[in-house]
Amino acid sequence: MQIIAKKLSRFLLVVVAVSAFTFLLVNLLPGDVAYIVGGEDATLEDIKVIHERLGLDRNVVVRYFIWLQKSARGDLGVSILTNEPVLGTILARLPVTIELLIISQCIALMLALPAGIASAYKSGSMFDRFVNGIGLSTLSIPSFVMALLTIYLFSIKLRWLPATGYTSFSVSLGDNLKSFILPGLSIALIEWVVLMRVLRSDMITTLRQDFILMARAKGLPPWRVLLQHALRPSSFTLITILGIQIGRHLGEAVIVETIFALPGIGRLLVNAIYSRDYILVQGCILLITIGYVTINSVVDIIYAILDPRIRKELSHG
């Protein structure tokens, strides 16, 4: 319980830091914020309206608390370009990003599970070193290069899938999934290495234990020993990492969504940056960061509840 309270207080601290940071970004811009928010062709009346809307005549600290209060109620302001509420625009894009993250994690697992199990079983062999070498080189490929490589290979050379184009979930499920394969793959091709390494090292530890020896002595074939006896106790860290990675890949999603023209939050953020829509950028950054922090904290807390070892470690440190 103490741990959870500690984690929760840390979470709140981070949320406050995040909100202060995003607020300050817009408000500490050099010059009059209203002119910057309004853009180059804002008339004097526009400036006046923005001044009133942002309450610029008041003290920064007062403004922060007003902004915080509004944000907490879900009012993140309206986009300067489209005049639509920021929160609604972001929430409409959210499912695409979530689907991308889930699909990429599934593909990554499909690659990591067999590779991790096999290289743990044959640890030290040529195969193990080969997988490890591939792993080290994939970690040196930035996600945007990986995305271009998948487009080049699967879309231009093999012509299996289109490079861009998004079909909504409601139009056709098959086409919808198809538009996620290449983006998901380009995240997964980087992601699987981390999962594979974690699984491999946990699996090697498990395989040394007595119950595995017992299973082998019973004469079970290797695949049954590996899949039915060794996999479950070895996948504990893997599952945690999976949770943390989903948060970490929000950044990657920005790049991949932009390349594959998927209408998710990442692309919304980049487009808002290109069109200098300050309020929308602020909203995106706030929501993405809060989402990221929340996922991480939830994973952390669940982990602390599930694993007694971590509980002990934390209360000492």
Binding site: L136, P142, V145, I259, L269, I273, Y274, I285
Partner: protein
Amino acid sequence: MRLGVAFWISLCWIAIVVASAASARWWAIPEPDRMDWNHICAAPGTIINEVVLQPGKEMEISKYISLLGTDTKGRDIVSRIIYGARISISIGLLAPLIGLLIGGLLGCLAGFYRGAMESSIVVAMDIILAFPGLILLLAVTFYLGSNLQNLILSLGFLTIPVFCRVARAKTLALRSLEFVQAARLTGAGNVTILYREIIPNVIIPVAIYGLVVVAFMIMAEGALSFLGLGIPAPTPSWGGMIADGREVLDEAPHVSLIPSAIMFLTVFSFNLIGDSLRNYFEHGKSQI
């Protein structure tokens, strides 16, 4: 324990990249922003004949072999890669240096003094780590403008917590060892011990760790430039070159793939050097 061939090859590659970036001005290559509309997306190895007309002289034809071809605006790829290396290498080396100095020092302080100082430093670092890196970076460069100085500072800021963690862990391991106690018995004060005993022993493992951070910084700068949010346009950068070639990936894949390969080799080399050195030193320790 030897460092192995791969280590030396990587080191050579980094040396070549750094040396050519530093000596870019003296190379017999076209300017990186010189456009040639007659040779758009020329394949690697294309021979470019150029007519030089100067008053009072005969017409000259100069021949130039474009080793890696030209990009979508007819600019020479070799030249852009060499000039782009300046951005990648200076960000890649300077940003971690900021993290190394500030984060390393904070980590040493936290690990050495412990108590309230340690817990406040650790909490501050956790807060920085809680931000998603790329989003923070996008935010800072968007609102404050992206020039070389801002990029180095904001990327450097992001590396502070990682260095701090490593330095703290190393300091914790060192602080109760005999040589530190010996120094204390000779009457050395805290600052002297920190400065003469702890920091010299912490700096090498932290710097080796920094090589992996260098690799990561080069990729992060590439991602920003790729999105068009790095150093603004006329200045060549690897990420920007890769982004340029996206449109012609079908008919002229070399425009994107060559800078991609160069970036991969550089990042891979830094990763490999970092990994080899870490293994080398850890192995050395276990033998003692």
